[in-house]
C-alpha cells in the first residue's frame, strides 16, 4: 500500500511539473502575443502622430503663405479698399520717460 502511495506521489509530481510547464509556456506565448499587439498599436499611434504632426506643419505653412502680402495684398486693396499708408499717415510716438 505504501509502495502504491509513493508511486502516486511521483506521477502527481510529474503531472504538476508538466502542468506548470504548460502554464508557463502559455503565459509566455500570451505575453508575447499581447506584446506584439501592443507594439503594433504603438507603431500605428506613432505613425498617426507623425501624420498629424506633418499635417500641422503643412497647415501652418499654408497659413503663412495665405497671410503674405503677395497673397493678401491684392485682395485687401481690391475688396476692402486698403492701401499702404503714406509715411505722413504713420505716427511714431516717442517714448516718454516717467
Amino acid at each position: 500500500m505504501a509502495k502504491r502511495g509513493v508511486g502516486m506521489r511521483g506521477r502527481t509530481l510529474v503531472a504538476v511539473v508538466l502542468g506548470a510547464f504548460v502554464l508557463v509556456a502559455l503565459s509566455i506565448v500570451w505575453r508575447r502575443t499581447v506584446g506584439i499587439g501592443e507594439s503594433d498599436r504603438l507603431a500605428q499611434l506613432e505613425a498617426k502622430r507623425a501624420g498629424l504632426e506633418g499635417e500641422r506643419v503643412r497647415l501652418e505653412s499654408e497659413i503663412r503663405d495665405a497671410s503674405t502680402r503677395q497673397t493678401l495684398g491684392a485682395t485687401v486693396e481690391r475688396k476692402l479698399g486698403m492701401h499702404i499708408p503714406t509715411d505722413k499717415q504713420v505716427v511714431i510716438l516717442p517714448r516718454t520717460s516717467r
Binding site: 507603431a43 505653412s61 516718454t96
Partner: protein, 686 residues
C-alpha cells in the same frame, strides 16, 4: 551467454537514439551555440537607419521659414504580393498613383517605388497589406514665397541639399542620423522588441537668418508689381542694415527663365551712375577735389577718346556735388581724370568689387573688375560711369553701407545665429569691419550729396514727406548676346539710404530691361524704393528702430490738407510712371549756382505731393466713406500724452508731438479742421 531479448534491443535502440539526440543537441547548443544564436538574431532582428530631423531655418524675428515634416514613401515588392489586382484596387482607394505599378508589372520588375510622398493617414489603409513597404521620409516644407526659397535653397527627393543655405550649411542643418534595431514579425514587418536598441539621431541645428520676413515679403510684393507693370525682364531688391552688415531682405524676380540661387548674389550687372558717389568719395579722400569745385560739362556733349559722352542734364559747368546730384557723365569723367587708373581701380577694389563677399550662398559671383593693365583706352572713362565693371546687387549695397555708416566696409552676413537642439547658441554673427574705405567726414559729405539727389536731383520720386531719403539713381545700357549694347535695353537702379541723416536701411532696387517710355532709375526704381519704405514704416516689425526714426523725422509740418486723389489699387502699375508735381529734372540751368546744391530743402520741398490719404478707393457698400467735413479739435487739457493722442486719433486727426514751454494743441481745441489733418500736440518741458 544469454541472447538479448527483443525488448532489450528496442531499449538499446531508444537509448542510442536518445544519446544521439543529446549529442546533437549538445553540439548545437554548446559547440555551435553562438553561431546559431547569431543566425537567429539575424533572421529576427534588423537594424534600420533613423534619419535625423533637419534643423529649422528661422527669420530674424523667430518666424519659421523652413521646417521638416515626416512623410511616407511607398514601395511594392511584387513577389510578396499574392493578389496584384487587389493591391491595385487598394492603392486606388487610398488615392495613390497606381500608374507606376501598371508600368512596372508590364516590365516585370520586382520592386516598385511609387512616386511622391504621402502622409501616414493617406497610407494607413494599405500599411498592412502583403508586399507593401512603407519608409518614413522627412520632407522640407518651405513656407512663404518663392523668394525665400531662392535664399534657403532646396533638397532633392532623397533629402540631399541642392542649393542655397541648405547646401552651404548642410553640415549644420543635417544632424547625425541614428540607428534602431527592430524585430521582424512572421510577415517580415518591423516590430518593436525589448531586445532591440535605439541609437537616437541628433537633430540638426536651428539656423536664424538676418532676413526680416516682413520686409522680405514687402520687397517681393513690390518687386513683383514693378516687374509686371513695367514689363521688365526681372529685378532685385536688397535691404541691408548699414551699421551691422545684416542682410534684411534679398528679393529677386526673373520673368520667363529659371534661375539658380538668388540673383542678387549670383548675377552681376553694370551699375552705371550708382558708382559715381564712390569716385566722388575717392576724389575727396585723395584731396583732388572739393564738393564745390566746378568743371566744364560742355553743355551735355563731350568727345573723348573717339566717342561721344552725353548728359541728360545739359549744363555748361557743374560742381562735384551737382555732378552727383544730376548724375553728369561728363562731369564725373572730367573730375575722374584727377585720379590715376590705379587709384580708380583701388577705390573699387577696396569697396569689395571684383571678389566674392563670402555670404553663405553657393554660386556667389565675384563680379568683374579688371586691373588697370587690362584696361583699354576707354576703360578709364567708362569705369567712372559704371561701365566695364560688373557688381552684384549685394556688393553695391555693401559698398553704399560704407557711406551710410561713416566709412567702414562691413562684412555682410545672412546668418545671425546657430542654435543647438537645447537652445544654446553655438554661433552668433559679429559685426566685422573689413576695412575703412573713406573717412567719416568724407562719408558725411557724400551723404549730403546723396540727400540732394533725392531732394532736388534725379531721384525726387524716392522722397518721403516726413523722413529724408538719400540715394543715387543709375541707368545703364545693357548688352544683348552677340549684339553688344543695344538700344532700348537698360538696367534701372536706385540705391537709397533711409533715413537720409541717420540711415537704418540701405535699399537697392534694380529693374532689368523695363519696357516703355520710362526706363531711368530715378523714374522707375526710386518710386519702388519709396513704396518699400512706406510699407516698412507701416509694418509692425520691419527691423526699424522707431526711437531712432522719431528723432530723424523732419520737423516741418504740412499745413495743407493731405487729400490727394485716392489711388486705385488696380492702377498699381501706373504709380511707377506717374509724374510728380515737379519735374524729374527741376533745375533751371540758366540760373545755375554751384553753391546751391547743398542748401537745406524748404518745407514745401520736404513735403511730397503724391500722397494717398484716407479714404483710399472706397467702394460703396464695402467700406463706409469717411466724412470729410471739418470737425472740432477736441480739448485734451488735463489728459496724459497717451490719452490725448488717443482722443485726437479717435476724432480722426493725425498727431505730431513736440516739446515746448506750454502745453496744448495747434490748432487750438475747438477749432474746425478736416479729418486727417495734422494736429500738433505740445508737451511741456520737464
Amino acid at each position: 551467454m544469454k541472447a538479448p531479448t527483443r525488448v532489450a534491443v528496442v531499449h538499446a535502440f531508444f537509448v542510442l537514439f536518445a544519446l544521439a539526440l543529446v549529442a546533437r543537441a549538445a553540439k548545437v547548443q554548446v559547440v555551435e551555440g553562438n553561431q546559431w544564436v547569431a543566425r537567429g538574431k539575424r533572421q529576427h532582428f534588423f537594424a534600420s537607419a533613423l534619419s535625423a530631423p533637419r534643423g529649422e531655418i528661422l527669420d530674424a524675428s523667430g518666424n519659421t521659414l523652413v521646417e521638416s515634416r515626416e512623410m511616407t514613401r511607398v514601395a511594392l515588392a511584387l513577389p510578396e504580393v499574392r493578389d496584384t489586382a487587389f493591391i491595385l484596387r487598394a492603392l486606388q482607394r487610398a488615392r495613390l498613383d497606381a500608374s507606376a505599378v501598371h508600368a512596372a508589372i508590364a516590365r516585370r520588375r520586382r520592386w516598385i517605388d511609387l512616386p511622391g510622398l504621402y502622409t501616414a493617414s493617406d497610407v494607413a489603409s494599405i500599411s498592412k497589406l502583403n508586399g507593401v513597404h512603407l519608409t518614413p521620409v522627412l520632407q522640407r516644407v518651405y513656407g512663404n514665397s518663392g523668394g525665400i526659397k531662392r535664399i534657403v535653397g532646396s533638397l532633392d527627393g532623397r533629402g540631399n541639399a541642392l542649393d542655397g543655405l541648405e547646401l552651404a550649411l548642410d553640415s549644420l542643418l543635417r544632424g547625425d542620423s541614428g540607428r534602431v534595431r527592430l524585430a521582424r514579425d512572421n510577415n517580415g514587418r518591423p516590430l518593436e522588441s525589448p531586445d532591440g536598441w535605439t541609437d537616437e539621431p541628433r537633430p540638426g541645428s536651428t539656423v536664424v537668418l538676418t532676413i526680416n520676413n516682413t520686409l522680405q515679403d514687402i520687397c517681393e510684393r513690390e518687386l513683383s508689381i514693378a516687374v509686371d507693370s513695367l514689363k521688365a525682364e526681372g529685378g532685385d531688391i536688397v535691404v541691408m542694415n548699414p551699421h551691422t552688415g545684416e542682410i534684411l531682405a534679398l528679393a529677386s524676380n526673373r520673368v520667363g527663365r529659371t534661375t539658380f540661387g538668388n540673383t542678387a548674389v549670383t548675377e552681376p550687372f553694370e551699375p552705371g551712375s550708382t558708382l559715381k558717389p564712390f569716385i566722388a568719395a575717392s576724389l575727396l579722400e585723395h584731396q583732388r577735389a572739393r564738393p564745390t569745385d566746378v568743371v566744364s560739362t560742355h553743355n551735355g556733349k563731350l568727345e573723348l577718346d573717339g566717342r561721344v559722352i552725353t548728359d541728360m542734364h545739359k549744363a555748361s559747368a557743374l560742381s562735384l556735388a551737382d555732378v552727383i546730384r544730376f548724375s553728369s557723365n561728363i562731369g564725373i569723367v572730367q573730375f575722374g581724370q584727377r585720379l590715376t587708373p590705379r587709384e580708380k581701380y583701388e577705390t573699387f577694389r577696396d569697396l569689395g568689387f571684383g571678389m566674392p563677399l563670402g555670404v553663405p550662398l553657393p554660386a556667389e559671383a565675384a563680379g568683374t573688375l579688371h586691373e588697370p593693365r587690362q584696361w583699354s583706352r576707354q576703360t578709364s572713362a567708362s569705369i567712372l560711369m559704371g561701365y566695364e565693371i560688373a557688381v552684384t546687387p549685394l556688393q553695391l549695397v555693401t559698398a553704399y553701407s560704407a557711406i551710410a555708416n561713416g566709412g567702414e566696409l562691413l562684412e555682410p552676413h545672412l546668418v545671425k545665429e546657430v542654435r543647438a537642439l537645447n537652445g544654446d547658441v553655438t554661433y552668433r554673427a559679429q559685426t566685422r569691419a573689413v576695412r575703412r574705405v573713406m573717412s567719416g567726414e568724407v562719408a558725411r559729405t557724400i551723404q549730403q550729396m546723396l540727400l540732394a539727389v533725392v531732394q532736388q536731383g534725379t531721384a525726387t520720386r524716392a522722397d518721403l514727406a516726413t523722413f529724408e531719403v538719400a540715394g543715387k539713381s543709375g541707368t545703364a545700357r545693357r548688352t544683348s548676346t552677340n549684339a553688344g549694347y543695344t538700344a532700348g535695353n537698360y538696367t534701372a537702379s536706385f540705391v537709397g539710404l533711409f533715413p537720409g541723416n541717420d540711415p537704418q536701411y540701405v535699399v537697392l532696387v534694380k529693374l532689368d530691361n523695363p519696357k516703355g517710355a520710362h526706363y531711368a532709375g530715378g523714374e522707375i526704381a526710386a518710386p519702388v524704393t519709396q513704396i518699400v519704405l512706406r510699407a516698412a514704416l507701416a509694418a509692425r516689425d520691419a527691423a526699424l528702430d522707431r526711437e531712432g526714426l522719431a528723432a530723424s523725422e523732419r520737423s516741418t509740418i504740412a499745413q495743407a490738407p493731405d487729400h490727394a486723389p485716392a489711388k486705385s489699387a488696380a492702377a498699381a502699375g501706373a504709380r511707377f510712371v506717374r509724374a510728380r508735381g515737379d519735374a524729374t529734372d527741376p533745375v533751371d540751368r540758366a540760373s545755375y549756382d554751384p553753391s546751391d546744391n547743398l542748401r537745406p530743402p524748404s518745407p514745401d520741398e520736404g513735403t511730397a505731393s503724391y500722397l494717398v490719404d484716407l479714404p483710399a478707393s472706397p467702394r460703396p457698400g464695402v467700406v463706409a466713406p469717411i466724412a470729410l467735413t471739418p470737425r472740432a479739435i477736441p480739448d485734451v487739457r488735463g489728459m496724459s500724452i497717451r490719452e490725448a493722442v488717443r482722443a485726437l486719433h479717435s476724432a480722426g486727426f493725425r498727431v505730431r508731438i513736440v516739446t515746448a514751454s506750454s502745453s496744448g494743441t495747434l490748432p487750438a481745441a475747438g477749432a474746425m479742421a478736416a479729418p486727417g489733418s495734422l494736429v500738433q500736440l505740445t508737451r511741456p518741458l520737464e
